[in-house]
Amino acid sequence: MEKRVTFSSWTIGILFAVPQLLLIFTFFYWPAGQAVYWSLTLQQPWGGGNIWVGLDNFRSILANADYWNSITASLVFAGISTGLAMFVALVLAALTDRQLAGSRLYRVVLIWPYGIAAPALAMAFRFVLAPEAGFMAVINQVWPGFWDPGLDGADAMASIIIAFSWKYVGYNFIFFLAAFQAIPRSLIEAAAMDGSGVMRRFWDIQFPLITPTIFFLLVINITESFQDSFGIVDIMTSGGPANATNLMVYKIYSDGFKGLDYSGAAAQSIILMLLIVVLTIFQFRFIERRVHYR
């Protein structure tokens, strides 16, 4: 879409874009380019020379079992938390859309968790899921040793998944509800007149019509699970126990800033960037074509 009426002065037009361009050059393009450069060289932290090593950094990372462990953990985390957050949100939004009494209340309250900072909610869940105090302790009293995120990797993974999903149910709920409410009521009513029940209307009318939203949220949830998980992991598990929750962004942080391995961290950043770019392109290219639009 283009404007028919525009202003003729080129200089003023370009001047308006300059602040943004300066910012993204300094804080986006330069660092991104720097990351590529570092990933191809061996850099001594805080100065010193850079030695060109080609793809060696990538080779050593990809040969590292810890890195594959981190990728697996990230994928498990992304898969389960996205599935959980989206499924729960879809059910809640579909039911809220039936507009029974009290649905206004749910609409207001269910999005509160999304406003909370990841580290703050991580702290809350660290307490709720603590093995010695809190509520899981009750279960631990009945079956001693049933739950301990500090020792058991699976329990730790479950904890961060619960915390992340809790936040993103609210987010997904908003989008699902907006999508449901954009479906004309007359469609639903016509189907009801033809004798279709609630489930049939859901599967044959509402579900196909909200598929664009589902795919959109799928990509957003997966990319967010790569980024927004950092605060949750850092507060709840610090990547442990035994690297069970050492997700990719957390590993970049700990390798780069704790281990001072800039080149390794840069190479990991590049791999993560590629992953996210592929996901985004996938969203734009393929997903948008295969779904039903009205």
Binding site: K3, R4, V5, T6, F7, S9, W10, G13, I14, F16, A17, P19, Q20, L21, L23, I24, F25, T26, F27, F28, Y29, W30, P31, Q34, A35, V91, G102, V108, L110, I111, W112, P113, Y114, G115, A117, P119, A120, L121, M123, A124, R126, F127, V128, A130, A133, V138, W166, A178, I188, A192, F216, F226, Q227, G231, D234, I235, I252, Y253, M273, I276
Partner: protein, 304 residues
């Protein structure tokens, strides 16, 4: 409602109520735990009736994590990011939509690409840039031979250096350098009728006047939505402030939470930790509750 479905209605209410409880429960647990004394909070199971130590715990958490100045830092950062976004995105969108200069499409794509890579995945090099924000320009001068030329001609050795670690500018600027708001404004500007622009031009208004007196007042709703969402987003940032505030004086409330994690030895002071958590989660929650309309609108609009 289309038909009578008593069973389904019952289940609808049941499931929604369970969802409601699960959504509220962590808030309630945090608030209740913050009101217990050390012994009660470690009781198994913890009593859900509020204790009497609420204010003592809040005070302890406040002083332990030094939350007063930290909340102020958080506020300055969040307000700075929100204001910066609202202004800079408006300027850029105006330039992209209302002008026809060569390279406009290129600039559009330059900005669009920034949507793809969040700050988290390029933290290490961004950190290096913020440590000396002029280093990109220094390198460019060095590589192009300009610094050599300047040194030959004027005898001045060029070494640009400006560190932004532990400063509000360093906290705020990198968080503004994305395209999120630009497209929100762009979509809106495209819906502003051309007749309005024509009329303004006929009355002798230039680009600047049109922007300030007509376009900006029309975008007030967008500004509120974008401002709300950006304020929350910036308030909740964790990784970035954690990295660049090596000095306590510029740390934010969210990063200070880590100070309150109970250590493993001894009886964990969960009541203090929860009091601190409550203080940190309250401001964004208040913003969400009061600005709900703008929040939802901003959320849906910025992502599309």
């Amino acid at each position: 409602m289309v038909e009578r479905t008593p069973f389904l209605n019952f289940f609808t209410h049941l499931i929604l109520f369970v969802g409601f409880v699960l959504c509220i429960a962590p808030f309630v647990v945090v608030a209740v735990a913050a009101s217990h004394n050390l012994r009660d909070v470690n009781d198994v199971p913890m009593s859900l009736l509020p204790g009497s130590d609420f204010w003592t715990n809040i005070k302890t958490a406040w002083t332990t994590a030094d939350l007063g100045p930290k909340l102020l830092n958080s506020f300055i950062m969040a307000a700075g990011v929100a204001a910066g976004k609202v202004i800079i995105s408006a300027l850029t969108a105006f330039s992209i939509v209302y002008f026809r200069y060569p390279g406009r499409t290129f600039i559009f794509w330059l900005i669009f690409v920034t949507l793809m890579l969040p700050l988290e995945v390029r933290i290490v090099p961004t950190y290096a840039v913020v440590a000396n924000v002029l280093s990109p320009y220094q390198t460019i001068l060095d590589i192009t031979g300009l610094s050599w030329l300047i040194e030959k001609v004027s005898g001045v050795q060029v070494s640009l250096s400006l560190g932004l670690l532990n400063s509000y500018t360093g906290l705020i600027l990198p968080l503004i350098a994305t395209a999120t708001g630009t497209f929100l404004y762009r979509q809106f500007f495209l819906t502003v009728p051309d007749e309005l622009t024509e009329a303004a031009r006929m009355d002798g208004a230039g680009a600047l006047r049109f922007f300030i007196d007509i376009l900006l007042p029309l975008s007030r709703n967008n500004m509120a939505a974008l401002g709300t969402i950006m304020f929350l987003w910036a308030w909740n940032q964790y990784l970035w402030p954690l990295l660049i505030t090596t000095d306590q004086s510029h740390a934010t409330a969210v990063t200070e939470l880590k100070q309150l994690i109970p250590n493993v030895g001894g009886i964990p002071e969960w009541n203090i930790a929860m009091a601190g958590t409550l203080i940190v989660m309250l401001p964004p929650l208040i913003v969400v509750v009061l600005m709900q309309r703008w929040f939802v609108r901003g959320l849906i609009a910025t992502e599309k």
